[in-house]
């Protein structure tokens, strides 16, 4: 392509503007979380006091704990099931579009629809709502995401190494443990981190399947109700922490997946 100065200037300007658009809102939020004054949007000096006040907020702490429980348990289940599903689907290679749609659906179905569907389902069965129902619900989409990450890795997987392992005398279990799993492990971990991030951030489905009461309030639910009340510096601080956690998890996940591609 031609690289005239005008063209290069245009391309650079585009990048600068887009990154400004993406990062200014976040940057303002993070900056204001260190704001000393009580006014949530006017700068009046550096302070960590809103972080300290978070640590003393029992409602937020209990919501954070709930979120952690939901995310860890649903990620664990989804990682196991999603990985096995991915292997099963990729190994037989020929699969119906129905199966494909079933696996794809949880990723594309509007959250609100899955949320009301699960609420109807649980109340129909007279299920007591709580953390366990949130976990059941989160596994649905987490499993689909883990499956798609692992499948992407398996697309470039050389299945002859599985046959080679059998040929050299290994049983199916040994082959999985010593050959298949180690090779796809980075993708499995990346999928798990992705699932964890999604689960930590998920709001609507949790909101509908949590039931009444504080006991099963998750962090996004807590944040939502705080935002509804208005802007507070405390939310800014909480938001900064939550963003830091999910961005760390994603960065790790990306690194692992790049390692896979690098091979």
């Amino acid at each position: 392509m031609t690289s005239s100065p005008a063209r290069i200037f245009g391309l650079r300007t585009t990048l600068v503007l887009v990154f400004a658009f993406l990062y200014i809102p976040i940057a303002v939020l993070v900056a204001l979380s260190f704001n000393q004054g009580g006014l949530p949007t006017v700068w009046s000096g550096f302070s960590l006091k809103w972080y300290a006040s978070l640590a003393g907020n029992a409602a937020i702490l209990s919501a954070a704990l709930n979120t952690l429980i939901v995310a860890l348990v649903s990620t664990a289940i989804a990682t196991l099931l999603g990985t096995l599903l991915a292997i099963g689907v990729e190994m037989r290679r020929q699969y119906g579009s129905g199966l494909e749609a079933l696996i794809f659906a949880p990723m594309i179905i509007p959250d609100i629809v899955l949320a009301v569907a699960l609420l109807s389902f649980f109340s129909m069965l007279d299920f007591t709502l709580g953390l366990h129902t949130i976990i059941l619900a989160h596994v649905v989409f987490n499993l689909a995401f883990v499956c798609s990450v692992v499948r992407a890795r398996l697309k470039s997987f050389d299945w002859s190494i599985v046959e080679a392992s059998a040929d050299l005398g290994a049983s199916a279990v040994t082959t999985f443990r010593r050959v298949t799993l180690p090779v796809i492990l980075p993708a499995v971990v990346a999928g798990a981190l992705l699932a964890f991030t999604l689960s930590v951030d998920e709001f609507i489905i949790a909101f509908f399947t949590a039931g009444a009461g504080r006991a099963s309030t998750t962090l996004p639910m807590q944040i939502y109700s705080m935002i509804r009340f208005g802007i507070t510096p405390e939310i800014n601080a909480l938001a900064t922490i939550v963003m830091a956690v999910s961005i760390t998890a994603l960065t790790l996940s990306q690194r692992l997946n790049r390692g896979v591609i690098g091979q």
Partner: protein, 278 residues
């Protein structure tokens, strides 16, 4: 494999089927469900009041999609034109915000747009003294929020075909006498349509079914389908009507996906031709 499929069936297929079934029942007098077959919920969906909300949602989602695609394509193009070793870095940082909490990203716009927010302060700094403009709780705020939240995905979707594009194709077009603009319109754009379509469908589907953004940035005044479904289930307690609305949402989504699949098939033919030539 079986446990995963069982899980998806029990906790996605069955509940969705249940909602579909619910849509054919009558609402009970005290909010419950009366198990008599009726089509009136679907009739109600077509009622001007609710049909208006559907149209409103489609317009907001459509506008957000258009803006996101234009910005996202430009960004993806700029990234794909950057030096090879910088591309993954740019891409990573373009996608990074996408993985922070959706509520928080939306909240960031409340902070930005509220009457004493950054934009008002900037205006003051430039000497503006009048009433702060009301930007929050407008349709524009909702669209801005949607674009902001889904832009990274469009960038990602458009980058994929752009980065795979053989640069010699553009050079060949220039060599054959086409201007830069014509080359873009007749060569680059057609070959990257699948990426645009994937990005557009994603933004549209997620926007039209969105609940959080209109609820927070629209301040409840700009109701979209998602909010309507929410209200029927949690406020109005009319589950059968809420179910009908949810099914209408799914129907729209399926239509859009089918249209995309068709477009992708056509584009795939074009790309196959281009590859055979190259």
């Amino acid at each position: 494999m079986a446990p995963a499929l069982a899980w998806l069936t029990a906790l996605m297929m069955v509940p969705c089927a249940l909602v579909l079934a619910l849509a054919f029942f009558r609402r009970g007098i005290y909010g419950g469900i009366e198990y008599t077959f009726t089509l009136e919920n679907f009739g109600l969906v077509l009622d001007p009041l609710y049909a208006g909300i559907f149209l409103n949602s489609a317009r907001i989602a459509g506008t957000a999609t258009l803006i996101a695609v234009v910005i996202g394509y430009a960004a993806a193009y700029a990234i794909a034109a950057a030096p090879r070793r910088w591309q993954p870095v740019f891409l990573f940082f373009a996608v990074l915000p996408f993985w922070s909490n959706y509520l928080i990203r939306t909240y960031a716009w409340i902070v930005l747009l509220n009457r004493e927010g950054l934009i008002t302060q900037l205006l003051r700094w430039f000497g503006y003294t009048g009433e702060p403009p009301s930007m929050l709780y407008t349709e524009g705020a909702v669209i801005a929020g949607l674009v902001y939240n889904y832009l990274p995905f469009v960038i990602l979707a458009c980058y994929a075909p752009l980065s795979r594009l053989n640069p010699e194709l553009a050079e060949a077009s220039r060599d054959l006498g086409a201007s830069a603009m014509t080359t873009f319109r007749r060569v680059i754009l057609p070959l990257t349509v699948p990426g645009i379509a994937a990005g557009a469908v994603f933004v549209f589907v997620l926007s039209i079914g969105n609940f959080v953004t209109p609820a927070l940035l629209g301040g409840g005044r700009f109701q979209m389908i998602g909010n309507l479904v929410y209200d029927q289930f949690l406020t109005a307690n009319d589950w059968p009507f809420g179910a009908a609305l949810a099914m209408a949402l799914i129907a729209i989504m399926l239509l859009v996906l089918m249209a995309q699949a068709l477009a992708a098939d056509r584009a795939a033919g074009r790309i196959a031709e281009a590859k055979a030539d190259g």
